[in-house]
């Protein structure tokens, strides 16, 4: 990704976030009638897409306030009243509350561990030339490329031998290990792009390598760290395969697992109102995190495409 070149355009025209900036031309080269039609068609396509995205989510929210009878009656009927008992049932009877707590604990621990280990490793890989560095980088990319399904069987037995199967610490270890390559991969390019002069200055001022990292480099890397942390949070919160394989004890289920087992409970006794309520409960935390940090994330997604 190249730096955004200022191409000599006068800064009078602020293109804003919507597209490339350019000088104001002296006149549109095309007739504006057809042009407006195209513009309207573009808007139409985007509106249609937005409806497609939002409709299932809104419908889920609406259904979460309906009794199961109301849900069976019609997909469109509005809830007669806000049936919050769906949320209560999901939270207590279906155990979503406990699973939620498990998810918070596991994801928090794994996120902190991943960010600490990942940033340290990325820093060394970015700035310390040593024999075999290329091999280490290749192995980290390999971890991103190979299907996790190839590893799940041996991983199951590794955790079993370590006595960590069906425990939250074991799950934290697995989450951390599988988020590590992505984190390192992403942060290496970030540390490479940080100016070397500052580290030089710190060294001249007598700071050791350790202190340079924690007091100089890490604060400078904050934008990149934040972006990776958000992406990792979403990824860890949504993790499904690892807990299903490594964590079969119902008491230590995480939220995604709990939702899956709730949805697949045998027969037709599923409380659909509570199922929708559980879905909303699972979505809201990530959606809130995303909306709070979305500006930062939008920027980082583009950065993430950088190889």
């Amino acid at each position: 990704m190249s730096t955004h070149l200022q191409t000599g355009a006068p800064p009078a025209v602020e293109g804003g976030p919507s597209g490339p900036r350019r000088r104001q031309p002296t006149g549109g080269p095309k007739g504006s009638g057809a042009d407006r039609a195209v513009g309207a068609a573009s808007q139409g396509v985007l509106v249609l897409w937005t409806v497609l995205v939002i409709a299932p989510l809104l419908w889920t929210l609406m259904s979460s306030f309906k009794t199961t009878q109301e849900i069976f009656a019609s997909p469109f009927s509005l809830p007669t009243s806000l049936h919050l008992e769906n949320y209560v049932n999901a939270w207590t009877l279906a155990g979503i509350g406990r699973y939620f707590a498990n998810s918070v604990v596991v994801v928090t621990c794994a996120l902190v561990l991943t960010m600490v280990l990942g940033s340290m490793s990325a820093y060394v890989l970015a700035r310390f030339p040593f024999p075999g560095r290329g091999a280490v980088r290749t192995l980290i990319v390999a971890g991103l490329t190979f299907p996790v399904f190839l590893a799940v069987v041996p991983l199951f037995f590794i955790l079993q031998q370590a006595g960590l199967l069906n425990t939250l610490p074991g799950l934290v270890a697995a989450y951390t290990a599988y988020a590590y390559p992505f984190t390192v991969f992403f942060l290496v390019s970030f540390f490479e792009d940080l100016p070397h002069e500052v580290a030089e200055a710190a060294s001249i001022d007598g700071a050791g390598e350790w202190r340079t990292f924690f007091q100089v480099m890490l604060p400078m890397a904050r934008p990149g760290m934040a972006a990776v942390a958000i992406l990792n949070f979403v990824g860890l919160w949504n993790q499904f395969l690892l807990p299903v394989v490594l964590n079969s004890d119902q008491d230590s289920y995480v939220l995604t697992q709990g939702m899956a087992s709730f949805a697949s409970q045998a027969g037709y006794a599923v409380d659909f109102g509570a199922l929708f309520a559980g879905a909303v409960t699972t979505i809201v935390p990530v959606l809130v995190v995303y909306l709070v940090f979305q500006r930062r994330l939008q920027g980082s997604v583009s950065a993430g495409s950088v190889k």
């Binding site: 730096t3 955004h4 070149l5 191409t7 293109g15 919507s18 597209g19 490339p20 350019r22 031309p25 549109g28 080269p29 042009d35 573009s42 808007q43 985007l46 897409w49 497609l52 995205v53 889920t60 849900i71 009656a73 280990l117 340290m120 490793s121 890989l125 310390f128 280490v136 192995l139 980290i140 490329t145 299907p147 996790v148 399904f149 190839l150 590893a151 069987v153 041996p154 199951f156 037995f157 290990a177 590590y180 390559p181 030089e200 934008p223 949504n238 499904f240 395969l241 949805a263 199922l275 979505i283 979305q294 939008q298 920027g299 980082s300 997604v301 583009s302 495409s305 950088v306 190889k307």
Partner: protein, 339 residues
């Protein structure tokens, strides 16, 4: 990356009108091996990397070894059987069916997702009026934020929601279709018929990822030199021509990366399948390799065969990644998205 940094600095009000010069390599400092440096390297890279090797890389090699044994997991011995497992798989109709389904996903899902993402990204960045500046549409920021929603929803929940949307009797989809007068769709079982189950599943995965890649492509398109768009406009290029001749080559690196990620995801697809059709769908029409690995290992305890399936999946993945990079090189795509 530098672009994002510069953008960050711009937001904080510092000027970044001149790109910073390339960092100079530090001199003697980069060479000295002091205790300080070595200890940092060991703790920062050595220990975490060792942990990663044990938890991630070692299992990959272990699985490859298990795949040539007839290990059942219940007995300590792991009899070596050579390529027997692979021979069995090659003659196993159910496995070949699931492999075919996975390959279908691999061919269809990335192509459909990325074409839609690219089209939407183009509409957002230069689909606006051609009078005045080359620009996108009003409300771009809103569209970007909303399109990203499905990406942050846990995949299992996406599956659960859509299995309800597809619900024959009280789902949103049939409700809409019958509502507009298409009575033929009353109680139509989208996920319950071999003719529609796979297409319905693909639609869900596409829905989940189009927004994410749209946002990525929008960012990449905005990094193309605006002068190029102006030149194209002055030469009389229409929007489609601009998209194909300016935008697409300009973000080829991003498209390649996205294609690889999307392909790896399509070959997995485990979560979506488990949520929409846990048993493999009508006539096993949506059964995929990852589901086979899972049931073979953890329901039937045939770890040797399951690992062989995993190896087949890994080989397919690597061939796919190699193909994407090879085709990209033939087309002259430059490394990464640094274009």
């Amino acid at each position: 990356m530098a672009g994002a940094v510069a953008a960050g600095r711009r937001r904080r009000g510092a000027s970044s009108s001149t790109p910073s010069p390339a960092p100079s390599r530090p001199g003697a400092r980069g060479r000295r091996l002091s205790f300080d440096r070595v200890s940092l390297m060991v703790v920062f890279l050595g220990l975490p990397f060792a942990f990663y090797v044990v938890m991630v890389l070692y299992p990959f090699t272990q699985a490859t070894y298990y795949s040539v044994t007839a290990w059942t997991g219940f007995s300590p011995e792991q009899p070596f059987v050579g390529l027997d497992n692979y021979v069995r798989l090659a003659g196993d109709a159910q496995f070949l069916n699931s492999l075919g389904n996975s390959l279908t996903l691999l061919v269809v899902v990335p192509a459909v997702t990325l074409v839609l993402s690219f089209a939407l990204a183009c509409v957002l960045t230069f689909g606006g009026s051609t009078a005045g500046a080359v620009r996108g549409l009003r409300g771009t920021a809103f569209y970007r934020v909303v399109s990203f929603f499905p990406y942050v929803v846990p995949a299992i929940v996406i599956g659960i929601i859509w299995s309800q949307v597809y619900n024959p009797s009280n789902g949103l989809l049939n409700g809409l279709l019958v509502g507009v007068g298409l009575d033929g769709f009353t109680d139509f079982a989208w996920l319950g018929q071999a003719s529609t189950a796979m297409a319905a599943t693909i639609a869900v995965i596409v829905w989940a990822f189009v927004g994410f890649y749209m946002v990525l492509f929008v960012a990449a398109i905005q990094n193309i030199d605006p002068e190029l768009f102006e030149a194209a406009r002055l030469d009389g290029a229409g929007r489609v021509r601009t998209a194909l001749s300016i935008a697409l080559p300009g973000i080829a690196g991003s498209v390649r990366t996205a294609y690889v990620y999307m392909g790896i995801l399509a070959l997995d697809a485990f979560v979506y399948m488990q949520a929409l059709n846990p048993t493999g769908g009508p006539e096993s029409s949506t059964l995929v390799v990852t589901q086979q690995v899972f049931t073979t290992a953890f329901a039937q305890g045939q770890f040797g065969i399951a690992c062989a399936m995993g190896v087949v999946l890994a080989v397919v993945t690597l061939v796919f990644v190699g193909l994407v990079f090879g085709v990209a090189r033939l087309l002259g795509v430059r490394g990464g998205a640094r274009a």
